[in-house]
Amino acid sequence: MATARSTPGGASRGRRAVWVGAAAFAVALVLWYVLTTLTGVIGSARFPSPPEVFAAFRQLALDGYADGRLHQHVLHSSKLVLMGFAAAVTAGVPLGLAMGWSRRVEAFVNPIFLTIRPVPPLAWIPLAIVWLGLGDAAKVMVIWFAAFVPSVINAYTGVRSIEPYLLEASRMLGVRGWSFVREVLLPAALPHIFTGLRLSLQASWTTLVAAELVGAALGLGKVLNASAQDIFPAMILIGMVFVGIAGGVMTCTLALVEARAAPWRQG
């Protein structure tokens, strides 16, 4: 993206890329239609046809499926993701910054952190269920674990990769205390922090779907689980598409926040 912007004619090249992408999408849609509805090469029990998918979408949006309508599922899943993500980031970023800045904090926290880190987030699900049952709290806890690790690691890396001469310049200018944290440490680490947030967000969605598959009252994972049990491929597809859309919207929002928070990084 950066190179496209900095080369002359980058804008037109970017526009061409959009057209090529749209064309590929159109080809895929046509192919889908031809292979299912038109010729029946792929049977509808294996992969749904476009009209079936549209019908499933209507059903989910208007009548509801798996104890809720589309917007209820999407909102419920998004709420859990946001809660787990926010809790993980609020704890993880300051911890990562502190570990990056202070050898003492690092020495204290690192052994515990390194022990927990290799455990895949999904492996926490059984423990979360034992502690908190099948409700939302257990899911938030598992998401928290998934999102916590990348936000810590990247905030830590952010501090460690600050150019030493910037730290020397700030000492020379007499920057101290809170002003140092807010005006030097945080902005210098910000690119890495945002990388961490992006990875945390992705991990949150992955984990949420898995956690909802195990058991949920509402949510996109529940839609996926119910449609699998009903052998309803069109609905499975709709569930997948909306997991993608909801995750994508959050990732884009995060990118907008980053552009706002770090205007100096625009080339």
Partner: protein, 265 residues
């Protein structure tokens, strides 16, 4: 009085249990409002000298003091201009220059006046709200010099400030620095390995030996500048054309040549 005094300063690096002396008995006084340049082969420890005056490094033995006070930590009374500019990428030109004054607790109105003045003096008008990455290397270094000058420091420590600039920009910046230094004299310690730059800018040039660094010779430029009246000349190339300039330059070149190891030429 704000002089810089190096008193029998040595510096030893320890690596793998072995001692590597980098500076060996440096004694030097940069007098109040004097412009002193240190030249020397790479690795001779000239940058270490500057960093010790800044309080970013410390001698193994001996003493470095500024204005009679031993240097114990960095501070805005000893402003540093770094070779890599070291501007804060997330701050605008104005905020970069203003940052040090704000930390010193200077009042808003006075800050605005002083930052505004230095921006005019350094020819940075119109770039106040630009971010460093939007500026050329020469402009960034102007900001870095402005950021140091605005603090009204006792001493100014410049570590190869023009090393990263192209030849033309470098020339312009050298002329501007001379203009600034005449208008607003400061005690300056200037590190460079460009001999012409050293002779053009300074009152005295210190030639260092190769590692472990010692002072090979101190050359008085100020008296030649005065007797030959270089200051009447506007441009750097006119000064560099003077026989007196060429003579000094050649002499320093020869001293530096002698410092080169026989196998690195």
């Amino acid at each position: 009085m704000s002089n810089i005094v190096f008193d029998a300063v040595t510096r030893v690096f320890r690596r793998d249990g072995k001692d590597f002396p980098t500076l060996d008995g440096i004694s030097l006084e940069v007098r109040d409002r004097e412009f002193v340049a240190i030249v020397g082969p790479s690795g001779c420890g000239k940058t270490t000298c500057l960093r010790m005056a800044a309080g970013l490094e410390f001698p193994t033995s001996g003493r470095v003091s500024v204005g009679g006070k031993e240097v114990t930590e960095p501070g805005p009374d000893r402003a540093v201009v770094f070779q890599q500019f070291a501007l804060f990428p997330w701050k605008t030109v104005w905020d970069n220059i203003d940052f040090g004054l704000r930390n010193k607790g200077v009042l808003e109105a006075e800050r605005r006046r002083r930052v505004g003045d230095i921006i005019t003096l350094m020819g940075l008008e119109g770039y106040e709200s630009a971010f460093p990455h939007q500026l050329s290397g020469g402009m960034q270094q102007r900001v870095a010099i402005a950021r140091a000058y605005v603090l009204d420091p006792d001493v100014l420590l410049m570590d190869e400030p023009f090393g990263a600039l192209d030849a033309q920009t470098r020339t312009v910046m050298q002329e501007e620095l001379v203009r600034l230094a005449r208008k607003n004299p400061r005690t300056v310690l200037f590190i460079t390995h460009a001999v012409e730059e050293a002779v053009y800018l300074s009152d005295r040039v210190v030639v260092m030996s190769r590692r472990p660094g010692t002072i090979r010779e101190v050359i008085d430029v100020a008296s030649v500048r005065q007797s030959e009246n270089w200051d009447r000349l506007e441009r750097i190339e006119e000064v560099m054309d003077q026989d007196s300039f060429v003579h000094l330059r050649t002499r320093i070149w020869k001293l530096l040549r002698e410092q080169q190891a026989p196998n690195d030429h």
